[in-house]
């Protein structure tokens, strides 16, 4: 079964709706990570409504593409995208997010249908993705594995252990997508510990390198297609997706305060007003 395809208009509508709900759901429990979820909205929607194969009625369908969320704190956008993709009702996640008695844990958790791998300690998803990608070879399957990495996460040494392995073993069905929103918990990535030059580094590690605007659907689609067509090269692919942390809400953009803090009531109202005003869609 192919992932559902929807019109560009629909995608933009969904993006706006997800942004609103990221703010509402984190506000409701007064916790969560809105900033790094807002930056990932277009990427997640592009995967589930443009590129990947999945079946919400059968989340473990053998031929599905695998998506590993290595930046495990991005639960708001992940759960909301999965709801839109039909894995469960959106109401459930709005009600159960980060609440006792529900599977919608603060960091991505396999108890939620459609979540492939539980994470929440950075630097682990790429290795797991490699294991899944290798498994496709053993099983003669042609699925792809997409691993969503945070930019700060790239500072973890284990990422580079995995990067070395993936190219050496020609794991071409693996696509890492770095949500390069430039901000980690305590400030700007490149002031804390620069991960640049990304292009030189990933290419030196033997990867295909693609850089895009991660809020532009067309560019994301092209990058995902370029990954597919570059599989013949035998290399794994990394897509560096330039994004804005807190995207869409003026006072949250480029503001590391919203890495791990929910908006207050006043901030929520202001943010919703901005989003509904349509200036940042």
């Amino acid at each position: 079964m192919l992932g559902q395809k929807v019109s560009m208009e629909n995608l933009k509508e969904m993006a706006k709706d997800i942004r609103e709900k990221i703010l509402i759901m984190t506000h409701n429990v007064n916790s969560g990570h809105p900033g790094g979820s807002l930056s990932l909205v277009e990427i997640m929607l592009s995967l589930y409504f443009y590129k990947i194969r999945y079946n919400p009625k059968d989340p473990n369908w053998e031929d599905r593409d695998r998506v590993v969320i290595s930046k495990g704190h991005a639960t708001p956008v992940v759960y909301l995208t999965l709801a839109k993709a039909g894995f469960f009702e959106e109401e459930e996640v709005m009600k159960g997010f980060r609440r006792l008695g529900y599977n919608f844990q603060g960091h991505v958790y396999t108890g939620v249908p459609g979540v492939e791998f539980s994470t929440g300690s950075l630097g682990q998803g790429l290795s797991a993705g490699i294991g899944m990608a290798l498994a496709a070879r053993y099983k003669n399957k042609d699925y792809n594995v997409y691993v969503i990495l945070g930019d700060g996460e790239v500072q973890e040494g284990s990422i580079w252990e995995a990067a070395m392995f993936a190219s050496f073993h020609k794991i071409n069905n693996l696509c890492a997508i770095i949500d390069y929103n430039k901000i980690q918990q305590n400030g700007f990535v490149n002031e804390i510990l620069s991960i640049e030059p990304l292009k030189d580094r990933w290419e030196a590690f033997g990867w295909n390198y693609i850089e895009i605007d991660g809020h532009n659907f067309d560019e994301i689609f092209q990058a995902l297609d370029a990954f597919e067509s570059s599989k013949v090269s035998g290399k794994p692919t990394v897509i560096v997706s330039n994004t804005i942390k807190g995207k869409g809400i003026s006072f949250m953009e480029y503001n590391n305060a919203f890495h791990g803090r929910a908006p207050t009531k006043e901030e929520l109202d202001r943010a919703l007003q901005e989003l509904r005003g349509g200036n940042h869609g």
């Binding site: 682990q124 290795s127 993705g129 490699i130 294991g131 899944m132 498994a135 053993y138 099983k139 284990s158």
Partner: protein
């Protein structure tokens, strides 16, 4: 104890893993560049397509293992105990245990018995830190023969396991006809005055200590507790009731080892005098394996002395 020649438990692991390789195509083995030492090499030679040396990268070793296991494979991740459990701990915790995946962490060169390499290579914390992880089960075979049975068992049983193995030849204390039962302790020598519970190489030291004690009129029961998590509560309680004193002997830090786990259990079920023989909040040092057992008070003579002290406390 039989007349069989002592053999390293790692050899039993390597040989049985190879046997399993022929029987089960679903097994994949990974190593972090020490497969010659862990004996995973036996598997590698016959089944190169189902083997990876991931390089000196233990985190990636465990992470890839988790990904393969997620896809339905039975994965053996092998390295030295210190590196596998300490270096990759967070990966074991989240990628393997929290995801509850079918990864068998098989670690050789555990304990003091690695000898001359000294403190950095001597794993004295592995039992403690593996046992504290939810979903993880922890085993330490007592000898070469039992290792083969346990290797087979963990390959068949779904979920995460940690198996602790040694490099040095361990005396053979079980026989081929013994049946390994997961979660069950086994009385290797009967006794009424006290019970010595141990695992791994110190079981044979405990047996020797028990023989020596017998000459002095003390009868010490010796139990091999090769399943450490979950340990056999039934046999512990029964021995506590029947012998009234228990000592735990382990080639491991005393803090949070099997002794601590058993003490916690007995504290609420049947508090009795106990003693703990292990390494006491110290790093290891270089030396020959059996010299180190003596240096850290884990040899049969030291065990005997502690047992006598325990008997005195029991009577007072």
């Amino acid at each position: 104890m039989g007349d069989l020649q002592a053999k390293p438990t790692r050899d039993g692991f390597g040989e049985e893993l190879l046997n399993l390789g022929y029987e089960n195509e679903n097994i994949i083995v990974l190593s972090a560049d020490v497969e010659d030492s862990t004996r995973a090499e036996y598997f590698k030679k016959k089944f190169p397509n189902r083997f990876y040396n991931v390089g000196i990268a233990e985190q990636n070793l465990v992470g890839i293992s988790a990904g393969l296991a997620k896809e339905g494979f039975t994965v053996f991740a092998t390295s030295f105990a210190v590196f596998l459990t300490n270096r990759a701990y967070d990966f074991i915790r989240i990628s393997v245990c929290y995801n509850n995946l079918n990864v068998k962490l098989c670690a050789s060169h555990a304990g003091l018995m690695i000898g001359e390499d000294g403190a950095t290579a001597q794993s004295l914390e592995d039992i403690s830190i593996m046992s504290v992880l939810p979903n993880m089960r922890v085993v330490c075979p007592v000898d070469y023969i039992e290792t083969k049975k346990i290797t087979r068992y963990i390959a068949k049983e779904f979920g995460p396991f940690y198996m602790r193995l040694g490099r040095t030849p361990y005396p053979i204390v079980t026989s081929e006809s013994d049946v390994f039962e997961f979660g069950k302790g086994r009385v290797l020598m009967e006794g009424e005055d006290l019970t010595i519970i141990s695992y791994g190489v110190t079981v044979s030291e405990s047996l020797k200590a028990s023989e020596e004690l017998r000459k002095e009129g003390i009868s010490a029961r010796v139990i091999n507790m090769s399943t450490i998590k979950p340990f056999d509560e039934e046999i512990v309680l029964k021995s506590a009731e029947e012998t009234g004193a228990i000592m735990v002997v382990e080639e491991h830090e005393v803090i949070n080892g099997l002794g601590s786990m058993i003490a916690r259990f007995l504290a609420t079920k049947k508090p009795i005098p106990m003693e703990f023989v292990g390494v006491n909040d110290e790093f290891g040092v270089s030396g020959k394996p059996y010299e180190l057992l003596e240096r850290f008070g884990l040899d049969y003579k030291s065990i005997k002395e502690v047992a006598k002290r325990l008997i005195k406390r029991k009577k007072s």
